[in-house]
Amino acid sequence: MNIHLRNKLISIFVVLWLAVFYYESTCYYYLQPFFKRELPRMKFLFPPAGWIMFYDLEDNFGYTEVYGVKNGNPQLIDPHQILQTRAIGYDNINRNALVSVLSQGMSDSFCPFLKRKFPYFEKFLVTYVEYPHLTEQPMERTQTVVYTCGE
């Protein structure tokens, strides 16, 4: 390929890439509040809210506990038996992967999933455990049933 044409194509690509990269990196938290409106976004490539790793951690922590119920007795199910996929080098359970089953609408897929994996139990209690004040009251722990499967 002609070297001038090649350089032109590369330059166009670089300019477009940099524009999109920095636009997408700043759009959600900086550009949209600045322009006070929702701006067009590009799908398929960038995280919707920018590079927000560990950016907002509060003095609380919550996770999911799932109980299988047999003959009226609830029994805690090891989360590693629920999500059996093992990641290399880290534990997905500790990354709180299971907390997403508490989202609205997830019961529709999570309940059949639990029934298929644990046919022994008659029903399941999907609960949210929260430590509301990690540093001031580390022993304070609340637990609420978010939904029940199999009733």
Partner: protein
């Protein structure tokens, strides 16, 4: 005048030809990261990707129509994509049709991400996808440490100059990700100034993301130390782009970046990507010219000292073509190539200390000498290979005149 200066700067930043060996090395880490992140999710296809799987769908990342289309996949199509992923991933890892395999592998990654983001979808996965997109743009990452390099048979492949733009954009991506990660912590809803996130992390229960490392308990009762650590983290993240691009601080910044990710992996349950991709991204900041200068210096030293001799059938086109590939792999210039008489029963290797090896056992020794053959070491030393290897070698050697030979090597014109 100003226009010329700007043009020069632009040229230096993006267009100037520089050796692509660093990018080729980076390809291996990208492939390993993708494999280690995605392949474990294939071990439980029924849980993760089949129709009865537990799924979360990322409508923020994909258009709804795309996700809905992918969700209609029958289980058979999922299996097809699994095998397509294995094949393209392996080709990308070994650099066979590097660009095409990168594109196809990335397409498979998108398919599985759209099918279910429960296991593979993380913020670091998005960083990996951006990296993959840039890798798909050119074939430069297949220039060396690749089967493509062997196919081309270019003995200077390791110093092949290429426009620097892909490596520069990858550098900018790395540096900017650092910067924005720091910036988000102290602006918007980030609370690293107003709160004490490191302190909270140290007080997480065992179910949390914090690993049980040595200082955790001590830090859990020292909030001021945690707050100062948090500020240092933000300051480091935000200053990394400058430290990485200023020549005087670059080396220290690379070491800092490597330690940074090691520390993250040791203290938090963060995805594999942190361990395999991000440290390799730091190495992209090493100037390619410095890498090639270092290799050239090693080659000069080796050229002046007694070298192992590799003696081959100089009249056989297949042998000459094979030796040319050894030359491509001989990055440090450690070998001396000596054409032997016609009809030699096997290739011979004479080490500088007098030890001699022939056939398969010569190849075994080569695996220690040529960096591109390092991955073959476990294979050639695998139990039983000492019996099977010579048999295979002898069969190839007996039939070597029957094998097709690259055009350039067929009539004694394959210069070594």
């Amino acid at each position: 005048m100003t226009k010329n200066v700007m043009k020069n700067i632009w040229n230096i930043l993006f267009l100037e030809g520089r050796p692509s060996i660093g990018l080729s090395f980076f390809r291996i880490f990208v492939a390993l990261t993708v494999g280690l992140h995605v392949i474990p999710s294939f071990f439980h296809l029924d849980d993760n990707y089949f129709s009865a799987a537990l799924k979360t769908l990322n409508y923020d990342f994909f258009p709804a129509s795309f996700i809905n289309g992918v969700q209609k996949s029958p289980d058979g199509l999922v299996i097809f994509f699994v095998w397509a992923f294995y094949l393209t991933w392996f080709c990308f890892l070994i650099g066979l049709f590097a660009q095409i395999s990168c594109i196809l592998m990335t397409a498979c990654c998108y398919y599985f991400y759209a099918l279910n983001d429960f296991h593979i979808g993380t913020l670091s996965w998005d960083i990996l996808l951006v990296t993959l997109f840039l890798m798909c743009v050119t074939s430069y990452h297949g220039d060396y440490f690749s089967i493509d390099a062997l196919r081309r048979g270019d003995i200077n492949a390791w110093r092949c100059p290429r426009p620097f733009f892909i490596q520069r954009l990858l550098q900018l991506q790395t540096a900017s990700t650092f910067f924005f990660t720091g910036l988000y912590k102290i602006t918007g809803t980030g609370n690293w100034i107003t709160g004490n996130p490191v302190y909270y992390l140290m007080n997480y229960p065992v179910q949390g993301v914090t690993k049980n490392f040595l200082l955790k308990e001590w830090m859990a009762v020292h909030p001021h130390f945690c707050y100062a650590t948090g500020l240092m983290i933000v300051a480091t993240e935000m200053s990394m782009p400058f430290l990485l691009f200023i020549p005087k601080t670059r080396r220290a910044a690379i070491i800092l970046g490597l330690c940074w990710h090691l520390l993250l992996v040791l203290t938090l349950d963060v995805p594999t990507i942190f361990l395999f991709l991000f440290p390799a991204q730091m190495l992209l900041f090493i100037y390619p010219q410095k890498i090639t200068a270092w290799i050239e210096a090693k080659r000069r030293i080796n050229a002046q000292s007694p070298r192992p001799k590799i003696i081959y059938d100089g009249e056989c086109g297949f042998c000459r073509a094979s030796i040319k590939r050894v030359q491509v792999m001989d990055l440090w210039g450690k070998l001396e190539y000596v054409p032997g008489p016609k009809g030699m029963s096997e290739m011979r290797l004479e080490l500088s200390d007098g030890r001699k090896y022939g056939g398969f056992f010569a190849f075994r020794q080569l695996a220690w000498i040529c960096p591109m053959l390092y991955p073959m070491i476990p294979v050639v030393y695998f139990p039983g290979s000492g019996i099977l290897g010579p048999l295979v070698y002898q069969w190839v050697a007996r039939n070597r005149y029957l094998f097709p030979v690259p055009h350039t090597c067929s009539v004694r014109s394959c210069h070594l």
